[in-house]
């Protein structure tokens, strides 16, 4: 790697970095620091007076049972969505990689859901599983399975997990397929000659060689379930019934916008920020070590 600086002065490098720095500052650091500042403030409902309250927002937050519930919801939701979307996508990618005929059509069709906006995806699933309108929901009730995501919190959670998973499979599939196709064919053939049966071959050769892809997707998926699933949850359940599907990011929104508790909402987003930074750091530190590039 080239380590020598090509520029002698500081002016030109700084000038070249300026657009990037400006965007980062305006769109990331400024709002983030605003959130941090806001989290120390308390406002009345009409926004007429603002008071600096130190860590009171945080104290209130951690003594709020609703917040603990949002934590648990997020843990359940993110674990299921990550595990499901990654493993289903891997399965599809392995099958698409093996397919000889119709592989192109298969790939194209599998990529489509990624082009669907989260809110639209949410509405789609909402309709399919609507207890009175949805075809699939009727099918369930015909089979004698009680189903009502509007009243039953578990049903609601299942529905948002399914919708969020469905949405993310395409993305994961695309990367897994590219990863599989970059494994040299001769390495697989060598393993065949070395007497590794398909199952063993997958776990001892293919899966380890996919680990850079898997690691990358894990980081991206965690960010996805923590933040980008907002639209899906908002359209399907709106966090309900009675907070059963309220994740951390959804609570930031509902407390801030609906509850007009800007300080508490800001405190939550700071906590969320710290959590995701922490998790990503942990992933890079501990999981990346096992990844063989």
């Amino acid at each position: 790697m080239q380590k020598n600086a090509y520029f002698t002065g500081l002016t030109i490098p700084l000038l070249l970095l300026l657009p990037q720095l400006a965007i980062t500052v305006v769109f990331f650091y400024w709002p983030a620091s605003q959130a941090v500042w806001q989290s120390f403030l308390l406002q009345d409902a009409f926004g007429t007076s603002t008071e600096f309250v130190w860590f009171e927002n945080y104290q209130m937050l951690f003594s709020d049972p609703g917040y603990l519930k949002a934590f648990i919801n997020t843990a359940i939701f993110s674990t299921f969505v990550c595990v499901l979307s990654l493993s289903i996508a891997l399965l599809f990618a392995v099958m698409a990689d093996r397919a000889i005929r119709g592989a192109e059509i298969f790939k194209t069709l599998l990529i489509w859901p990624y082009a669907v906006a989260p809110a639209v995806a949410g509405v789609l699933w909402l309709f399919m599983f609507d207890p009175s309108l949805g075809m699939l929901a009727r099918g369930l009730s015909d089979m004698g399975i009680a189903w009502n995501p509007r009243l039953n919190g578990n049903d609601a959670m299942l529905l948002v997990i399914l919708a969020a998973t469905w949405k993310q499979i395409s993305y994961n599939f695309l990367f897994f397929l590219a990863g599989l196709q970059s494994i040299p064919k001769s390495v697989i053939e060598a393993a065949v000659i070395d007497g590794a049966k398909p199952w063993r071959r997958f776990w001892t050769i293919v899966f380890p060689l996919l680990s850079p892809t898997t690691f990358f997707l894990l980081v991206v998926n965690i960010v996805y379930v923590f933040f980008d699933t907002f639209g899906i949850i908002d359209t399907i359940t709106g966090g309900g019934p009675s907070g059963a599907t309220e994740t951390l990011v959804y609570k930031v929104f509902s407390d801030g916008k609906g509850g007009s508790n800007l300080g508490g909402s800001a405190a939550q987003s700071v906590v969320l920020l710290v959590m995701v930074i922490g998790m990503t750091a942990v992933q890079f530190k501990f999981i990346e070590r096992r990844v063989s590039y």
Binding site: S186, E189, A190, A191, I193, G195, K197
Partner: protein
């Protein structure tokens, strides 16, 4: 150890492309067979069919006494060395070499013994803990061979194993492969497009072209009596000169005005039959002007190769090359006279390219 027999083996791809058009030959136990030919001649496909990586469309492949057509690669008792080595990048050298044995459930101490032994033979003992990416090309090549020999297979298959190495290392590894194969006494099939590798390694040389076998034989025989114009120009460097001629009597060909004796020429051919005459650059000798059977050669330029020199020029208006010792001095440009030993004049059919030799 086992002999390998191919009987009328064909490979037809869906869509009707026939990559291998009915190939039959056998390799004796412990033999070293080299399949050589230009790219796309079907040699790699044939090797992959022996390995079990490609299905056999028709015909039969047997290893030892077993027909292996329906047997998977793992059960064929073969080991293969790939062109790009195909080492498992996430495993250490030790793990790479032991992978096959671990799949078989071989006891740990037995694996350890065999891997260490192979590492000792190949002089890669200090590398056992390294990953493939930390190794040089030559070292990777050794590991790939190590992975093949720990399995103690009946047959070694080599798919252009030296083509990714630089020229110097290639010569060195070529010698090592031959030594190793002799020491272990394992039957080997080796695919290459390099005719030097083909000549030096094989004790049975199979020259392929367009999915068919052009000639099978000892390398020296293939060189001395090429069965076709294709083999004649493919084996030997620089390639054989091919000139148009006509039959001018039993054992005599005419090249323009000059008359050339060819001892290995069929005698039943009518006079004036057009033929193609092959002369190897290294068989050409300088004669004195007007000597019987001498040909005029207009030298245009000379390439110095150190040990020898190459005269490039024209013979009856066609490009011609001759190889000469360095002490032979010729005018940089100008006409010289050349002769060829009648035993070393090759005559081929114009239409089929087949050798018109005595039966």
């Amino acid at each position: 150890m086992a002999q390998v027999t191919l009987t009328n083996v064909k490979k037809i791809y869906p869509g009707g492309v026939e990559a291998v058009k009915g190939v039959s030959f056998d390799i004796p136990d412990g033999g070293f067979c080299v399949l050589v030919g230009p790219s796309g001649c079907g040699k790699s496909t044939l090797l992959r069919m022996v390995a079990g990586l490609e299905t056999i469309s028709a015909g039969e492949v047997s290893i030892g006494t077993r027909v292996v057509n329906q047997i998977g690669p793992a059960e064929r008792d073969i080991a293969m060395v790939f062109q790009n080595y195909a080492l498992y990048p996430h495993m250490s050298v030790y793990e790479n070499m032991s992978y096959g044995l671990r799949n078989l459930g071989t006891p740990k101490d037995e694996i350890d013994r065999r891997v260490k032994e192979a590492a000792r033979i190949l002089a890669i003992e200090p590398l056992l803990d390294r990953r493939p990416r930390q190794l040089s090309g030559g070292q990777r090549q050794r590991v790939a061979m190590g992975r093949a020999i720990v399995r103690k297979p009946q047959v070694f298959l080599f798919d252009e194993p030296l083509s990714n190495l630089d020229a110097k290392l290639r010569v060195q590894m070529r010698v090592e492969i031959k030594k190793l194969q002799r020491a272990l006494g394992v039957t080997a099939i080796y695919v290459t497009h390099d005719q030097v590798e083909a000549m030096t390694l094989s004790d049975k040389l199979v020259v392929m072209n367009g999915g068919q076998v052009e000639q099978i034989g000892l390398p020296a025989d293939v060189y001395k009596k090429p069965a076709s114009k294709f083999v004649a120009t493919f084996i030997g460097s620089p390639p054989m000169n091919i000139l148009p001629g006509t039959i001018d009597g039993p054992g005599i060909v005419a090249l323009g005005d000059a008359i050339l004796e060819a001892r290995d020429l069929r005698e039943d051919l009518a006079e004036q039959t057009p033929v193609e005459v092959g002369l190897r650059p290294e068989d050409v000798e300088i004669a004195s002007e007007g000597e019987a059977g001498s040909l005029p050669f207009d030298v245009e330029f000379i390439e110095e190769l150190g040990a020898t020199q190459l005269f490039h020029g024209q013979l009856s208006g066609l490009p011609f090359v001759m190889q000469a010792a360095t002490d032979v001095v010729a005018a940089q440009a100008g006409r010289i006279w050349i002769t060829v030993d009648p035993d070393r004049v090759h005559v081929f059919d114009v239409a089929t390219g087949a050798r018109l030799g005595r039966v």
